[in-house]
Amino acid sequence: MDNTIRLPENVLAFARLELQKIADELEGIKVVVLATEDGFDIVSAVRDGSDPSRIAAMASSISAISTVVSEEANLGDSKNVIINTVSGFAVMQSIIRNDARLVLNAIANEKAVLAHVIYRTSHFANSLLTL
């Protein structure tokens, strides 16, 4: 991977630990991926064989399109995108740090509770902003 982004080591360590916890503690999580805004995966916890690099690229496209939509509608900055499906959902949470523009992606099956996942992903985002 020729990605040149360098997050501080304490941020990376926190992300590794916390993403693994989200994957382990929340029922129904298939995969969580922390990625750059331009679609490179940085840290991930995979439970279902998903490819984090594909998820990172897709999260990047969807986040960018949601930014365009929220600008067009004068809704202010896009915070997250939720794709709700018949058998689960995907949550993409923007995390804009001073040193890096990131997207956190959580994909879950129908056993997961959307509110729980959003609570954990927003909490993770806030922590990354203060670290």
């Binding site: 331009d38 690099s53 990047s60």
Partner: protein, 175 residues
């Protein structure tokens, strides 16, 4: 009159976003974000979903202009963006180390689409690096048995981009 949809593709930095902005009659929809890989040495941003602009020809024909991300990791967007498209404009950056390999990659990945529709090729940045030449590209295409029109263009120049568009329209009319 039915709107025509054309798709711009090619490697990062070839000028897809610029070409669409150069000719679009409204400020294009852009999904560029800051790049974090080695591309950032060349330019600050990269397209991660799509560009979208529009141009209306003198006869009233509207053409929707869609730009793809250049990187292969966004291939799923290529497959979305070609839907309903009538032609492909491949921009190739002559500065890059292996422009033929770039050209082959896009022609291969869009082969099904351009077999059904048509394609033109624009070589950019020949002002910065003048080899390979246009003749070299035409030889390369002939060897592959893909005789698509190819021209040297500057994506910042309106007449150049319009010329590509008109060539593609002519190809479609005559095929």
């Amino acid at each position: 009159m039915k709107q025509i949809k054309f798709i711009f593709t090619g490697p990062p930095g070839a000028g897809k976003t610029t070409a669409i902005a150069t000719i679009s009659e409204f400020p294009p929809v852009s999904t560029d974000v800051f790049s974090t890989d080695s591309l950032s040495k060349l330019k600050d941003t990269t397209t991660v979903a799509m560009d979208f602009g529009q141009i209306t020809l003198e006869n009233g024909q509207k053409i929707g202009l869609y730009g793809t991300p250049g990187q292969r990791r966004f291939k799923f967007m290529w497959d979305i963006l070609i839907q309903g498209g009538l032609g492909l404009i491949v921009l190739i950056d002559n500065r890059r180390p292996e422009p033929f390999k770039d050209l082959a990659m896009y022609l291969d990945n869009f082969s099904e689409f351009i077999e059904k529709t048509d394609a033109v090729i624009g070589i950019t940045c020949i002002d910065i690096k003048d080899t390979p030449t246009l003749d070299d590209y035409q030889d390369f295409l002939k060897e592959r048995g893909q005789i698509y029109p190819s021209f040297a263009i500057d994506a910042r120049n309106k007449d150049d981009v319009l010329f590509l568009l008109n060539t593609l329209l002519t190809c479609l009319e005559t095929s």
